[in-house]
């Protein structure tokens, strides 16, 4: 008697979202990327269609403050300048997209002007053909103005800007909508907050197709289990038909480099460089399995490994 495999069918599916705009679409990106439209649990191709494979992006930080010295040494001189860093992401490390983090705008540290930051965005867009996501400094006040300038600097390119929270979402929404960009909404490991930020943005007039959700990626060893379960629940909620959860999920796995144990010098824990890379890869792989659609990675070697993971999960070579 043939074994009957139970298959799960869901009523809901996630919306399809496009990152980046080509010349035909009004921008200058080499190609635009599609994500979402998932009808089932991640990598469950035996029972569901998930047409768009996960996207693997890399981050570029516009200031080296706060980046660990060991990591700086591993990455080399190229990261001293955001434009050369972004170029390497594209041509050497083969990222799908780049996330430019404008940390230098932080008014409590470097406090670089919004105009200067916007010109970094312009330069990066000129230097690479990949779709771009731009994150602010985390300061609500500064980021409101910052995103207005960034949006203008990237007009037509369909970038995504983040991270929008309850306290700043209106300025993000206005900045994004005025130039046809998308928004990354942020929720602090809380499925209800994830719903809420999506609803707030939609009520303000943002299309669901223009929203990604960042549920806060906690690194391995520092709360990964919370992220894992929140991502699983977000995806399940979406498939069960909750429209406010049917946006694609973006996870910033570069946080692995902040985990103390990743870079701990304790020799009993093995070689530092490979341990740290493994730390990032495990963080990223568990998120993929849980339901992440877009990953933000930092180390080129991690990118290579997670691409293999993704390929193997999709059934390729």
């Amino acid at each position: 008697m043939a074994l009957e495999i139970p298959k799960e069918k869901f009523v809901g599916k996630t919306v399809q979202t496009r990152l980046g705009a080509t010349a035909e679409q009004g921008g200058t990106r080499g190609k635009s990327l599609l994500i979402g439209a998932a009808e089932g649990l991640p990598f469950h191709s035996f029972e569901a269609s998930n047409p768009n494979p996960p996207l693997i992006g890399m981050d570029v930080v516009d200031t080296l403050r706060g980046i660990d010295d060991q990591l700086k040494n591993m990455m080399g001189d190229v990261i001293a300048d955001p434009v050369s860093w972004a170029k390497s992401c594209e041509s050497e490390w083969h990222a799908d997209f780049v996330v430019l983090k404008l940390m230098s705008a932080n008014p409590e540290e470097e406090n670089r002007s919004t105009e200067e930051c916007a010109s970094t965005v312009r330069e990066v867009l000129k230097a690479i053909k990949l779709p771009l996501i731009v994150y602010g400094s985390g300061s609500y006040e500064k980021d409101s103005k910052l995103m207005e300038d960034v949006s203008g600097a990237a007009a037509g390119e369909r970038i995504f800007i983040g991270l929008a929270e309850e306290d700043n979402y209106k300025s993000f929404a206005a900045a994004a909508m005025s130039n046809g960009h998308g928004i990354v909404g942020f929720s602090n490991l809380d499925i209800n907050l994830a719903k809420q930020i999506a609803i707030l943005l939609m009520d303000y007039g943002v299309n669901r197709e223009d929203i990604l959700i960042d549920p806060l990626q906690a690194a391995l060893g520092v709360g990964l289990e919370y992220s894992y379960s929140v991502i699983e629940r977000l995806r399940q909620g979406a498939l069960m038909g909750d429209a406010s959860l049917q946006t694609s999920i973006i996870c910033d796995c570069s946080v692995a480099w902040n985990a103390r144990e990743a870079l701990d010098a304790n020799g009993k824990l093995g070689k530092v460089t490979s341990r740290a890379i493994n730390w990032e890869v495990i963080t990223a792989e568990t998120s993929l399995i849980a339901g992440a659609d877009l990953l933000i990675m930092r180390h080129p070697e991690s990118v290579k490994m997670i691409r293999e993971v993704s390929g193997s999960l999709l059934g390729g070579e």
């Binding site: 074994l3 540290e109 709360g223 894992y228 059934g315």
Partner: protein, 414 residues
């Protein structure tokens, strides 16, 4: 009712006949059987899981991480593998995590070499064992030597099934079975069960991650959701060659592998995997906690700043990380709030001025930290008056968000 609640065993009923007994026992059995192996003192339990997703309740029996040792390499190599396995033991957030077991592999196909390896392993360590081979004749003598350790016998497949079953039965050992596909596996599982082997482990090793995820998922789903008995057993996977090892083990830990066999034991690979296992198998209802005590961050002096936070591990890690970022060496006093975060603990009355004052007194904080001040989280500023009254310390209200700590500490006067 008592039976349904598993308060009494069916054996105590004098009226029920054998057939009814089997049927009743069957229906009352857990969806996934519990298998125990390993000698006394180091016994391991696998299986007996009830959920597909950890957030629905929890995962109960953490994945057993196992190192393979082969009998066709030199004794020195065998010895060094065993030593390495023993050395992989760490204390992490208050729990011991370790490499749990050895998989002895009869690669040579000879029984003498396998016996020698088993003798060595038993002499050098008390780790639980899994005996891998395909030839029951070659496995048999070794299995007898190790019987007291209660190893798992592996692997029975369609070509050696009867002999392996006979051996498992003779020595009363758990038996691991494998097949090329799930349909065949369900048949072999049924046959094994019919021969009264109760402790079964399913070898579900697959070559790519897609098939690996698919088969682990289907087996778990059918066992739990459809009560499909042939799949109601713990699972085992080989993590493959060194390139694939990390990715396969990373998949197996959250996705239902009860045992993962690793080919190499480099700590930079195994330690992160152990950490993942600890994370995934944390009870979602009982947050991971750090010990209630004073932590030194950087190398603080007696007059360095003193900060207060809760013992919810995520809160502790965040605050400790942000203090580190500030570059200001500090003391961090962690109060036991039963794993609640600052706001929740305060609202629930688990973080009170009285409690903190008592902790400061019993832990001799004032002797250690002479600044005369304590920095409390901005969220609980309301506590400051009372805490000052009770301790005499100058209470400084810190930022509401941990992320603001670097700037706050750098700008702290004095």
């Amino acid at each position: 009712m008592q039976l349904a609640n598993k308060k009494v065993s069916l054996d105590e009923c004098p009226y029920v006949d054998e057939e009814a007994k089997t049927a009743l026992e069957e229906s009352g059995a857990p969806p996934i059987g519990l298998v125990k192996f390993g000698g006394s003192g180091r016994e391991l339990e696998i299986g007996d899981e009830t959920e597909l997703y950890r957030h629905e309740k929890k995962f109960y029996h953490p994945t057993v991480l196992t190192l393979a040792v082969r009998d066709n390499v030199s004794e020195d190599e065998q010895r060094s593998s065993i030593e390495q396995a023993k050395s992989l033991e760490f204390e992490r957030v208050g729990q011991m995590i370790r490499l749990d077991a050895l998989a002895l592999c009869n690669e040579s196909g000879e029984s003498k070499a396998f016996e020698a390896l088993a003798q060595l392993a038993m002499k050098e360590c008390d780790l639980p064992l899994i005996l891998f081979g395909v030839d029951p004749e070659s496995l048999g003598p070794t299995a007898k030597i190790c019987q007291e350790r209660r190893p798992i016998l592996a692997t029975a497949n369609k070509s050696n099934l009867d002999e392996m079953i006979a051996l498992a039965k003779e020595l009363d050992l758990p038996l691991c079975i494998s097949a090329d596909n799930l349909e065949e596996l369900s048949e072999i599982s049924t046959m094994t069960k019919e021969k009264e082997i109760k402790n079964i482990v399913l070898d579900l090793t697959r070559s790519d991650l897609k098939q690996q995820l698919e088969d682990l998922t289907i087996v778990r789903r059918m066992a739990i959701k459809s009560s499909f008995r042939p799949f109601g057993h713990p699972t085992l996977i080989w993590s493959g060659t060194s390139d694939e090892e990390l990715m396969k083990a990373t998949l197996g830990i959250p996705k239902y592998a009860s045992i993962i066999i690793l080919q190499s034991a480099a700590p930079e690979k195994v330690y992160p995997l152990m950490t993942l296992r600890q994370n995934i198998y944390t009870d979602p209802q009982v947050p991971l906690q750090v010990e209630e005590k004073i932590y030194d961050i950087g190398s603080p002096q007696p007059d360095s700043p003193l900060l207060l936070t809760t013992n919810f591990s995520l809160t502790y890690f965040t605050v400790a990380g942000d203090i580190e970022k500030s570059g200001v060496p500090s003391w961090l006093l962690v109060a036991n709030t039963e794993g609640l975060s600052v706001m929740t603990a305060f609202a629930a009355g688990k973080l009170t001025a009285e409690g903190v004052a008592k902790l400061i007194e019993t832990a001799d904080i004032k002797e250690k930290c002479t600044s005369g001040s304590i920095i409390i989280p901005g969220m609980i500023s309301r506590m400051s008056g009372k805490l000052n009254e009770l301790t005499g310390l100058n209470v400084i209200v810190g930022p509401r968000e941990s992320a603001a700590l670097p700037k706050f500490l750098k700008n702290l006067p004095g």
